[in-house]
Subunit: 428 residues, 2 copies
């Protein structure tokens, strides 16, 4: 965060959040929204429907940041304590807003009720001197008030209502706060797969240590791992995205050699998208023959709209009978080498491409666990075959983790193999 | 919260949380887990990868609660600051744990690497006097330490790893903290599918309104919807699970008639498990022919260990050519009725059961979107066929939502249909 730029805090109110009955997607949404506006969220507080706790969090947040977004506890029921608590905390009387009362009357009237319920009339009371933010989606309006240190915004907890207020009535207030010519932080993300976080970190950090300070210093690097791979997030500040990009570019160039063997490119960060794009660019279709991954690769490819252009179909060859009868795997090879073997992966990949008239075939056979492992072929042993225009390659992977993780990693490795082969074929 | 009972705080660490790139599901999961153990979470803090902010939150939390769970910032990279920051905050030296170094060496060794990367060696350093909590899913172990006021637990941010540690090595420590003879809240969950939340709520609440207070009052009812259905969660307090069960049972009996048509039973709440159990009990195997769901049903069934006993295999019949050549769908029916039609769903279900020698077949064909819809067959139009021992039934579903949601709902509806048919066949 640049010195002098405004910062924000989010206070989420509700027992259901603490008990874990509700996942706080509001806080994440506000984080993205405010970051984009150049008002980064630097802290979040989550408290229950308890007046002292709400008061503490809001007080703390106004002392630490310029903008405090409070979500939840704004409805008409007795456990909605946000408004009265904030009023007491900042010594503001609650007064009835006649215009809002009329709006509420109209809204309840339109719902077929004759008069505004008592509980809802409470919603027409607002702290003196505050601004009402219209809620086009519900009855609880947002409220904006200014304390000595900060701007405090009270918002309902229902995501749809909260978002409508932020994008609507609150928007001009946020625009007015954002620094016009100030720098903000921009990100560039590079996706990688096929290398573990610790090793990637070591290699990237070693390369960066050799670089002059003027390349290294302006850029922050974060390593974001998940089961599929590691995202590298580069952050730099700038008045514009282009300015930040210009600061990040020399570092990207300098570490390119280290990252390139594992990098893939696509907007979503999903390797299935990157593979689909490469297939589409070449006018090619893919088919899958999956044993232990059981349809997982087909699902990932067809998760994407328009997948019929690049996906011919697949066979979930869970039993040996299906492998032999449908895909032409040789019985004698299964008997000799086992279903989890290089020969079977080879024939699955080639067989499914031929059967479904596809340019590219994937064959996966392995031990996903938790049972079925042996000394020679422990859980996590997976043979993968890829066929590109009739030429089959195979490799053996050992994937750690539970069944779900082993399957996810094996599917990712198969897609990564197809991706590299398609890219290399273009180069050659 | 009972007076004197222990309370907990959760501190979530990571810029990606503040920026909203990641939704904090860990905090919700911990909230549920700790509530179940009788150690309610009373506050949550979310801070970025900034040492002072981490220190502030942990210090604050230890002053307010008995148990502080810190997630994230525990990996091997330079932006992982949790461990050194907490060590400094509580004035504890970091010392190398030789046993853990050996474990890490073994883990990296088994991955085919010769030595432990420098970055990962950092993970073998722990604050003096703290307890290492084994991480069966990754390299960053959990760490438990006791401060003057509270117990502090450091956990990795990767959900799978965090959960494994809490359910494994941390469990006895949490059990030791919980109040032995106090009443706590117990839950009973009934899974339903095939009815929308508002309708289920209306029917259950109407039935409950007729019940005497002594049946209704001791039990809290929550409706927890997701894309697959609605879970009904019944809560009652009791010293033991049996005592709470005895309070919940009369209410369950009273609403049984309303819920039974939609209920399914299994430990995980995943209908694929319930279907697998029914197939296994009958010695039957299933096969799937999926067009628009693209392998999603096969994946869900094979997500479960031991699925080879109940799953013969599947065909992802994405193109008409695969439908005709592999599954025997009649070309003239596709031409006359279209690929999304009752006739095609019927032939897919029957065809795949015959092809793969299965007792049960599922056929799904529809428009998942976002494109491909028409006035007659808008996005969300899905024909589903189920074949049980050669007898095929079909039904038409209209599912709302984006592509992912439509596919998920269609897959669930197909499984629900098989589940009901298996149960009804046993009764008849």
């Amino acid at each position: 965060m640049t010195e002098g730029a405004p910062s924000a805090a989010v206070v989420s109110v509700g027992n259901e959040l603490l008990f874990g009955e509700t996942v706080d997607t509001n806080a994440a949404w506000l984080g993205r929204e405010l970051t984009t506006l150049g008002i980064p969220v630097v802290r979040r507080y989550t408290v229950g429907d308890v007046a002292e706790d709400i008061a503490w969090a809001v007080r703390e947040a106004t002392e630490m940041t310029d903008l405090v977004m409070v979500t939840g506890g704004l409805g008409p029921t007795p456990d909605d304590l946000t408004k009265p608590t904030v009023a007491v905390e900042f010594d503001l009387a609650l007064t009835r807003d006649d215009l809002m009362l009329e709006t509420l009357k109209a809204r309840y009237g339109s719902g077929g009720h004759d008069e505004v319920p008592l509980a809802a009339r409470v919603q027409a009371e607002i702290p003196e001197g505050s601004t009402v933010l219209e809620n086009p989606e519900g009855t609880a309006p947002g409220i904006l008030l200014r304390t000595r240190n900060a701007t405090v915004v009270l918002l309902p907890g229902v995501p749809r209502e909260m978002r409508a207020i932020v994008k609507g009535a609150l928007r001009p207030h946020l625009e007015a706060m954002r620094p016009v010519h100030a720098e903000r932080v921009w990100h560039h993300v590079t996706h990688t797969t096929g290398i573990v976080e610790s090793r990637l970190t070591e290699q990237v950090e070693a390369r960066m240590a050799e670089l002059p300070g003027e390349i290294r210093t302006p850029v922050g690097v974060a390593y974001l791992p998940d089961v599929y791979g590691v995202d590298l997030r580069f952050s730099a500040s700038g008045v514009s995205r282009d300015e930040a990009r210009a600061r990040i570019a020399p570092l990207l160039d300098a570490i390119d050699e280290v990252v390139a063997p594992y990098r893939f490119e696509c907007a979503s960060g999903d390797l299935a998208e990157a593979v689909s794009t490469e297939l589409r660019n070449r006018g090619m279709k893919m088919a899958t023959a999956e044993s232990c991954t059981g349809g997982l690769i087909a699902k990932r490819i067809t998760d994407r709209p328009g997948s019929s252009e690049v996906f011919a179909g697949g066979v979930v060859a869970y039993s040996n009978r299906v492998k032999v009868e449908q895909l032409g795997v040789r019985v004698e090879d299964i008997e000799r080498f086992g279903a989890v073997s290089e020969a079977v992966a080879h024939q699955l990949a080639g067989g499914v491409a031929a059967l479904l008239h596809a340019d590219v075939g994937i064959g996966v056979t392995g031990v996903a666990g938790p049972s079925g492992g042996s000394v020679e072929k422990p859980v996590g042993t997976i043979w993968i075959g890829t066929s590109v225009r009739g030429e089959v390659e195979t490799f053996l992977g050992h994937y750690s983790g539970d069944r779900e993780t082993v399957r996810a990693r094996a599917g990712q490795a198969a897609l990564a193999s197809v991706y590299r082969r398609l890219l290399n074929a273009s180069k050659g």
